[in-house]
């Protein structure tokens, strides 16, 4: 019984996720939407690693989504058509970007930290937009495709088979979630929680707060860029909007909607958000207003999110 109590939620989440290709089409979804949801959920979970467990708000995580996406796409297009290599370079690009930007902003806090992350996100947007000979500019990076996985003994056709690609993304999500959960249970993760709860006290205890926040920022961005790689693989396409602050804002609303400070909250938030957006944009042209209204309603009436509503009251 203790096992069920401790791991019941995790078990339930994985059963539901593993079965998505079998039940999702019956409730009006399609496998591509399911894949998109788990990819966005990975990005939202990475934002939550920072926001929910370190107490730092990044409103610019689209920058790392975009770096991962362009890194992977450009690797396959210009360097070598290899899915794992694209993944590696994409994640590397995002992580290095986060290391540099993180070092510049780590001394800021709160609302100023958020503002600077927003502004930095735009640099990459303009680079992708302007450097059209390499990035394809406004039309996006096209003319490349993800490549089927060759494992030596067998070949997995993640290109032609949507369900296979879904499971490929799910494996990435599982690995990321596992690493994040382990990190949060480690002394490092506990230190992050201490910083979130009371930065000044953590500082007095001799914890190098800035370094911890920097590292947490970089780890979070690494997972965001992994989500970016999968995001690019999903459509075999990426355009500058991957970098846009609108995308960053969507990650944050997913986190809040699902319940920040809960590990699986962002997954639920991403699922609600993606399905809602998919349905809204198919039946009205004014879906942007409705989406905006949705933001306002969540913030005003439902600030603790789906999972937060059951958990303990978050401190303001």
């Amino acid at each position: 019984m203790t096992f069920l109590k401790n791991y019941g939620v995790t078990l339930l989440v994985w059963v539901v996720l593993l079965a998505v290709p079998f039940w999702f089409p019956y409730v009006g979804g399609y496998t591509g939407l399911g894949t998109r949801t788990i990819v966005m959920a990975l990005a939202a979970m990475s934002v939550n690693f920072l926001l929910g467990f370190t107490g730092v708000l990044s409103f610019g995580h689209a920058a790392y989504l975009g770096l991962g996406a362009y890194g992977a796409g450009m690797t396959i297009k210009y360097l070598l058509p290899s899915t794992p290599l694209g993944l590696l370079i994409g994640v590397l690009a995002g992580t290095l970007g986060a290391m540099a930007i993180g070092a510049m902003i780590v001394r800021l806090r709160g609302v100023y930290f958020a503002m600077v992350t927003i502004a930095f996100g735009q640099v990459f947007y303009f680079i992708a937009f302007r450097w059209s000979s390499v990035t394809g500019g406004d039309d996006g990076l096209t003319g490349w495709k993800r490549v089927p996985l060759d494992l030596g003994f067998t070949r997995i056709d993640i290109l032609g088979n949507d369900v296979a690609f879904y499971y490929f993304c799910l494996v990435c999500l599982a690995a990321s979630a596992g690493i994040m959960a382990l990190l949060l249970r480690s002394p490092f993760g506990r230190t992050l929680l201490a910083i979130r709860e009371n930065e000044r006290r953590a500082r007095f205890l001799g914890i190098s707060v800035d370094q911890h926040i920097w590292l947490s920022f970089v780890i979070s961005a690494a997972f965001a860029s992994l989500a970016g790689v999968l995001y690019a693989y999903l459509d075999n396409f990426v355009d500058p909007r991957a970098f846009h602050w609108q995308q960053s804002g969507e990650f944050v609303i997913m986190v809040v909607l699902g319940g920040m400070r809960s590990f699986w909250g962002p997954l639920i938030g991403a699922a609600i958000f993606e399905v809602l957006q998919d349905k809204l944009s198919s039946f009205t042209d004014n879906w942007m207003s409705l989406l905006g209204l949705f933001f306002v309603l969540v913030v005003v009436f439902f600030p603790r999110g789906v999972l937060g509503a059951f958990g303990r009251k978050p401190t303001p």
């Binding site: 902003i105 100023y112 503002m115 640099v123 303009f126 302007r130 933001f295 913030v299």
Partner: protein, 289 residues
């Protein structure tokens, strides 16, 4: 070459003046209430469209006068109904709220006035160049600079010498003490928000005459305004003014020598400032945390 440089210098100054006007409004709200107003660009666009619709009835000057005031009243209402609920909560919530409002604004403007850009008529005598050699120096550009300068001077006079301005400045430093001294902080924040939105509306009306009018007019101005605040310094309004002009001129000069980097250069400046002095050029170190 001199002509090209002068042209871009002037362009940079004018664009910088817009950034500054918008950033001053953002800064006022940020300093007193800790709210990053993402919807600022939406208010700016609304001011411009209101002026566009009012002009046939009350003329160019009437619209210039009235449209920002109407926008400010809407700002007062939005603060009163929505943003006020979120004071004292994590800044995340007000950020998301104004983010949602920005969506609603953009879509609403497109719904009412259409997605296509519409021409904004300015009086003929303002549109003509002042000199043949310097064809780019139209009367409207000079006029715009004068209006912006007057607005900024007016703002600093209000902040420096009126009771409201003194309370806003005091509240920026320590809102709790101001409240304890008997000032109604709710009203103060409301008026301060309205003042910020008035500046956005004014910037919108002026920008409409130069950039043309489309629902996304505010979008291209809001990010540079954030950068202006960061470069100029956290918590410092003169800093914000300098920051806006500085990045405007820097972007203008970059257009001459390396046009593809026009947008990117202001972010490079921001990075440099953050490395050297994280609180910005004229910033207050105490606001870092």
């Amino acid at each position: 070459m001199t002509q090209v440089i002068l042209f871009n210098l002037l362009n940079g100054l004018i664009v910088g003046a817009f950034y500054a006007l918008m950033a001053l409004g953002l800064s006022l709200i940020l300093n007193l209430s800790g709210v990053i107003n993402f919807a600022h660009g939406g208010f700016l666009a609304l001011g411009a469209y209101l002026a566009y619709s009012l002009m046939p009835t009350i003329g160019f000057w009437g619209a210039l006068l009235l449209a920002p005031i109407l926008t400010a009243f809407l700002g007062l209402a939005v603060e009163r109904l929505l943003i006020r609920r979120l004071y004292g909560r994590d800044p995340l919530y007000s950020l998301l709220l104004t983010f949602g409002l920005a969506f609603i604004f953009q879509d609403g403007l497109r719904y009412v006035w259409g997605a296509q850009s519409v021409p904004y008529q300015i009086p003929g005598w303002l549109a003509s160049p002042l000199s043949m050699d310097y064809f780019f120096l139209t009367g409207y550009r000079v006029f715009m600079m004068i209006v912006v300068a007057l607005a900024v001077a007016g703002l600093f006079l209000v902040l420096g010498y009126t009771r409201l301005g003194m309370r806003i400045r005091a509240g920026t430093l320590d809102l709790d003490t101001v409240s304890v001294l008997g000032v109604n902080v709710r009203v103060l924040r409301n008026l301060n928000f309205g003042l910020g939105i008035y500046l956005a509306g004014l910037a919108g009306v002026l920008a409409a005459g130069m950039l043309g009018l489309s629902p996304t007019i505010g979008d291209q101005l809001i990010m540079p305004s954030f950068v202006a605040i960061i470069v100029g310094g956290l918590g410092s309004l003169p800093g914000t003014l300098v920051g806006g002009l500085l990045i405007g001129v820097a972007a203008g000069m970059t257009t001459v020598f390396f046009p593809t980097a026009t947008e990117a250069v202001i972010y490079v400046m921001m990075a440099l400032v953050l490395i050297v002095k994280p609180s910005g050029l004229f910033g207050d170190e105490g606001r870092l945390r």
